[in-house]
């Protein structure tokens, strides 16, 4: 397969001398001839150099270039570019500028030396004194050569050096001139040689980050070899690796992005869980779409089948509406005669974010619940003890309120009473009933009178028939009758007297009984009154005792909580701190007072806590839905609910350097956080697939944050992105663009690195023609190369 996509970094050296430098270096380079070129070729292959250029001082030896170029495709050498090291006088200093030219126009390359020498046999300097070209002449030469080029300025000494700048370095022109040249992007990069300067240069950029953006100054190394036998002349020399195709355009693009330049080959470290290619059959014709180990983007019109492609190769495992979508996708494939043969196991996938998937991750659940983020949050801090201290203090306050209420109740219960003093007991009167019983006597009289009446009745019967009786007897009987009548009268009177006596006795006894009852009643009332008085007196004594006891226990309430900072658990991931903490940072007496006041209505929020008591609680608190009688307990519930909420552990993500630990990221940064965290994960290998990462993210955020994250991520995992956003293609400097289009009724798929260009396709053209805003983004990205790309 041709080198269509960026698969490996390219090792370069664009600063090698040959005998062509004889006008400056004389004998030093006398043996660096075409006859000895094999020495250099051997060395270049030994050091696995992929791209190089012989850049002689103000000269270009076409024959040597041509000979070296024959080595392209042999050994390690993939591309040899023409180049010159110019001596250019800027003001009163001479600057060395390496210029590497596009090799695509042979005739122009061939004429370089002629342009430099003119009719002479050596460089035609217009600043003879300095043996250099003036800047004006230099630019005229460049214009005359008329080839796209890359300019690399000498900066052998480090920019951070406080010593005298090295001769021929940009810094020798002074810091002001350096800043001006950087500002206008005069040079594509700055060349250094000594490996130790790598760190000094980084330090310089860090120190001057206010002045220069990260990408403003890019450094590459050049061996500046003047002795092929000893190439690269320095055992510690660090070659530069570029992430690009081994073409002039590739190098041009790599030079404009510091992330594509490294001094160790640490691009594409993912070695497992990679897809080499996607195999597709379209109308019975097999196609293999190569995939880079880095960033692969799939572009094309809406509904052309981009999402289908990633869902199909993952066996529809990440489809939410599986049945319906699967059916639609399969119908589309059938209708277009497409058979996607590549299938990858879910184990190969690190994450698959379908369209809108990130938003869902943050919306569906709380931040804490998001499976992806959950694992980064630390074990929550143990704040149970502190919470108990706070709740105990609340209990103390509630008990104080209860005591106050109790005290008030006792005060209200203080009683007054009528004093009842018992009179001295007089000698008691004994009442005896009349116990004369005349009933027997009365009964005897009655019996006697009954007998007399019986006798008299018999006598009267006798006297009714006296025929048998003599007169004398009649007289005697009448006398007897008279006697009995006297007796009857006499005892009749006795009986009556007895009856009257009985009545009298009864009356007397009734009176005695009534008197007794009345006296008894008087005695009971007195006791009762005395009892009431005694109870009232005892009650008062008891109440006063309770008041005095309670009063002693009610002191002015003051919380006695020792101030203590609450633990926070943190876990730093990249630039973020995953924090598990409760919403209160420390406990203190002020916190307790704040909590005591918190349940109150607004107008009572600043109330002196001494003024809180059970009587005014009802007014101060919100309505109690349960309408419980115990307002103090209701108040306790409200305070405790607030404290429980305060002590609830919440997970948040904050900036790593954010001092204010309570300041949390806004939800708008969700995607930023998400992608950054993904970019930090370099251990869990696997492919990251995402369908339209630009969703819900502003263009500024993409430019400012997301591109950086994706570039970082691409160093250690394969990425497949579906996008319509030109920034994700052009500014991301993707390693492979897969373009799906429908041409003449048939689906066609082309692919290649961003810089890829052949006789049929030019990827930059495809992007500019098919992506909204593509041309603008390309122009913006390459404005410094308008002159030559």
């Amino acid at each position: 397969m041709s080198d269509k996509i960026v698969k490996e970094a390219i090792k370069v050296d664009f600063h090698i001398h040959s005998i062509g430098s004889k006008f400056k270096d004389h004998a030093k380079v006398k043996d660096l001839t075409i006859d000895n070129i094999d020495i250099l070729i051997g060395k270049l292959n030994k050091y696995n150099i992929n791209m190089c250029a012989i850049t002689d001082h103000d000269n270009f030896e076409y024959e040597i270039y041509k000979r070296l170029k024959e080595e392209e495709g042999k050994g390690s050498i993939k591309k040899v570019l023409p180049g010159v090291e110019f001596s250019v006088a800027f003001e009163n200093k001479v600057l060395h500028i390496i210029v590497v030219f596009d090799d695509s126009e042979e005739d122009k390359v061939k004429s370089i030396q002629k342009i430099l020498f003119g009719d002479s046999d050596k460089p035609q300097y217009d600043d003879i004194e300095k043996n250099a070209y003036t800047e004006k002449k230099f630019l005229e030469i460049m214009k005359e050569i008329n080839l796209s080029n890359i300019m690399i300025a000498h900066q052998k000494g480090t920019l951070s050096s406080t010593g005298k700048p090295k001769k021929n370095d940009v810094l020798s022109l002074g810091e002001e001139k350096l800043e001006e040249l950087v500002f206008v992007d005069y040079f594509d990069s700055f060349e250094f040689k000594s490996s130790k300067n790598e760190i000094f240069n980084k330090h310089y950029l860090e120190k001057n980050k206010e002045k220069f953006k990260k990408n403003d100054i890019r450094f590459i190394t050049g061996s500046d070899c003047h002795d092929w036998n000893n190439y690269p002349e320095d055992d510690e020399f660090k070659f530069t690796y570029l992430k690009c195709l081994p073409t002039f355009r590739g190098v041009s693009m790599a030079m404009t992005d510091y992330r594509r330049i490294k001094y160790i080959n640490s691009f594409f470290t993912a070695s497992n869980k990679l897809m080499e290619d996607i195999e597709i059959e379209i109308n019975s014709i097999n196609k293999k779409i190569e995939l880079s180990k880095g960033i692969n983007v799939i572009i094309g019109d809406n509904s052309i089948g981009k999402s289908l492609l990633i869902h199909k190769i993952t066996g529809y495992s990440y489809l939410s509406n599986k049945t319906k979508m699967k059916k639609n996708y399969e119908e589309y494939l059938k209708a277009n005669g497409i058979d996607i043969k590549t299938k990858i196991d879910k184990k190969m996938i690190y994450e698959f974010d379908k369209q809108g998937g990130i938003r869902e991750k943050f919306e569906q659940k709380k931040l804490t619940g998001t499976d992806f983020l959950k694992k980064y949050f630390p074990v929550p801090p143990n704040i149970i003890f502190e919470k108990q201290l706070v709740l105990q203090e609340v209990s103390n306050f509630i008990n104080y309120l209860k005591l106050k209420k109790e005290f008030k109740t006792y005060i209200n219960n203080i009683n007054s009473f009528k004093i009842y003093l018992r009179k001295e007991k007089s000698n008691s009167v004994t009442f005896n009933n009349v116990d004369i019983d005349l009933s027997m006597k009365l009964q005897k009289y009655k019996e006697l009178l009954d007998n007399y009446n019986f006798i008299l009745n018999k006598i009267n019967l006798i006297l009714q028939d006296t025929k048998l009786l003599d007169k004398e007897d009649i007289t005697r009987i009448n006398e007897l009758k008279l006697e009995f009548e006297k007796l009857n009268t006499k005892y009749g009177n006795y009986k009556k007297t007895t009856e009257r006596e009985i009545v009298k006795i009864n009356v007397i006894n009734d009176v005695i009984r009534e008197t007794e009852d009345r006296i008894e009643k008087i005695k009971t009332d007195e006791d009762k009154k005395f009892e009431i008085y005694k109870n009232a007196k005892n009650k008062l004594v008891e109440n006063i005792c309770k008041i005095l006891t309670t009063q002693k226990n009610i002191e002015k309430y003051e919380p006695k909580l020792e101030e203590k900072e609450l633990d926070i658990s943190t876990n730093i991931i990249g630039d973020y701190k995953f924090v598990a903490k409760c919403s209160v940072s420390k406990i203190s007496n002020d916190y307790i007072i704040e909590k005591i006041r918190q349940p109150f209505k607004k107008k009572y929020k600043d109330l002196d806590i001494d003024k809180i008591d059970s009587d005014n609680l009802e007014d101060m608190l919100p309505d109690d839905p349960e309408e419980s009688d115990d307002k103090i307990e209701y108040y306790r519930k409200l305070i405790e609910a607030n404290i429980n909420e305060d002590f609830e552990i919440k997970n948040t993500i904050i900036n790593k350097d954010e001092e204010d630990k309570t300041k949390e990221m806004s939800s708008g940064f969700n995607s930023k956080i998400y992608f950054e965290i993904l970019s930090y994960q370099d251990k869990d290998e696997g492919i990251y697939i995402i369908d339209q990462p630009e969703d819900d993210v502003s263009q500024t955020s993409i430019k400012k944050f997301l591109l950086e994250d994706f570039k970082e991520m691409s160093n250690h995992r394969q990425i497949i992105i579906i996008t319509h956003n030109p920034q994700f293609i052009v500014n991301l400097d993707v390693d492979n663009v897969i373009f799906i289009e429908k041409k003449d009724g048939e689906i066609q798929i082309n692919y290649g690195a961003l810089e890829y260009k052949d006789d049929f396709i030019d990827m930059l053209n495809i992007i500019s023609e098919n992506i909204d805003g593509g041309i603008d983004t390309i122009n913006e990205r390459w404005k410094r190369y308008e002159k030559n790309i």
Binding site: I411, I414, N415, S416, F417, K418, I419, Y420, L421, A536, K537, N538, L540, V541, N543, I544, C545, I547, L548, T549
Partner: protein, 97 residues
């Protein structure tokens, strides 16, 4: 308070035609009207016990004859003393606990 800091308070009991009274340092603190014979609990607490800190004495400043002349005078003094003693005793007991 007269008599120095460590001296016990002494309430004086006396009566006139209208009432039986306790006074402290010449100021009437507690009054029972003869007409109603009502014992005012609030007055008793507020004026005698509210600032109670230690036991005090109730001293009768009436003569024996005065006392004999009013049949309620002695029982009322006894009652007040009895109540005061009961309160003091109970408070001391609780303090001891």
């Amino acid at each position: 308070m007269k008599g120095g800091k460590d001296m016990k308070k002494i309430y004086k009991y006396y009566f006139d035609d209208n009432s039986y009274k306790l006074k402290l340092d010449g100021v009437d603190k507690f009054i029972i009207l003869k007409e109603t014979l009502e014992f005012n609990g609030n007055q008793f607490y507020e004026n005698i016990f509210k600032d109670y800190s230690e036991d005090f004495e109730i001293e009768n400043e009436m003569t024996e004859e005065d006392m004999k002349a009013d049949k309620f005078a002695q029982p009322i003094l006894d009652m007040i003393k009895e109540m005061k003693d009961a309160i003091v005793k109970k408070i001391s007991e609780e303090k001891a606990q």
